[in-house]
Amino acid sequence: MKRNLFRAMGTTIDVTAPTADALAETRDLFETVEATCSRFLPDSELSHINTAPGAEVRLSPTMARVMHAADTARTITHGFVDAGVGASVREWGYDISFEAVNARIDRAAPAHTPNPEWSVKGAMLNRNPGTQIDLGGVAKGWTCDLAVAQGTAAIVSAGGDVRSVVSDARVEIVDPWGDIATTLLVGVGALATSSVSRRRWRLQDREVNHLIDPRTMEPSSGPVLQASAVTATALEAEAAAKAILLQGADGLAWADRQPWIRAALVVWHDGSVFATTGLGMAA
């Protein structure tokens, strides 16, 4: 097995693959999806979609597949993970580099952003005028799944979204303090972690983060600093981790009721770590 790390989608991609060619193909895949789905790249298809007039937009095959994945994430999380919160993410200050965002202390909090409305049928995306798409997490999870499905990666991690087809694959969950909270035996499956401890900044007297709650269209403010979920695919794990974090104290109980979530773990605001049963903790 070969292993390589590279930068893509604003994070570090960690790939274990059978051959060097497979590693290269996986890297090409991530770069292609990023060029399509990044809202930071002015020439990406997503940037054109978010600025396109009219309600309907025709999607490229890759974008259509990612948007259908986003639709799946929205459905299985009962709306907690909604790719249509892009406008709110931007208005709360996550529209430029984190360094500049952090300095923008006197900027006023934005007015309430309308709830997103969008749907995708085939290659057609339909959304209301105020809705902008943010595919950050969905694109990472979907690309991990695709890399494994096409056989160019055995284990792939994109900023904490992990997909594996190696039966004894283990993943260390690192808490916001840099300590290893636990080591999980993921095996053939996926694990993702969502955190509000890293990408956060101050907006006037309020500390905000990049995770927008679709119920309030404001940054998450619950007691959970970090949530992890074990599922079959990285797309599901990414969606589950975000949904658990957004639901705060109810997150673990919600995860326990979802048959597609094998196990979940949260890092509480005081540093405690709680989990559902079924978490395959390695000794």
Binding site: G10, F98, R170, R202, T277
Partner: protein, 128 residues
């Protein structure tokens, strides 16, 4: 003699009876007035210059532990530590006018390639 005194006697009786009734009526009336007197109202307070201050305290209480899942809650670690300070992640991002901005999929800076880990080192998941 009897004839002379009799009218006088009855006159005295009538006079004293009338006096007694008058006194008694007056006494009862005075007593009645006294008992039914409404207690004097307290002197009017000076008008307040400002409305009375209402003390209201808003407390935000975070749930001590997560809601209990049906199949049980596993406590992996219970060693409360202070929450971490905000960590500013600095990176260079190409902004595309008013529609720019982004979630996790951002333009990567021209950073040096991270060192490859040992093939056997565990993959880590710390959130994005």
């Amino acid at each position: 003699m009897l004839k002379r005194l009799f009218p006088l006697r009855w006159a005295k009786i009538a006079a004293w009876t009338g006096a007694a009734l008058a006194w008694g009526t007056t006494a009862i009336a005075v007593a009645s007035n006294t008992s039914s007197t409404v207690p004097a109202e307290p002197p009017a307070l000076p008008l307040a210059l400002e409305p009375p201050t209402t003390t209201s305290t808003t407390t935000t209480t975070l749930a001590p532990v997560p809601e209990l899942p049906e199949r049980g809650l596993v406590v992996v670690r219970y060693t409360p530590v202070p929450p971490p300070p905000p960590q500013v992640v600095t990176r260079t991002v190409v902004v595309a006018g008013p529609s720019g901005g982004g979630g996790g999929s951002a333009a990567a800076p021209a950073a040096a390639a991270p060192a490859a880990p040992a093939p056997s080192a565990p993959v880590q998941s710390s959130g994005s």
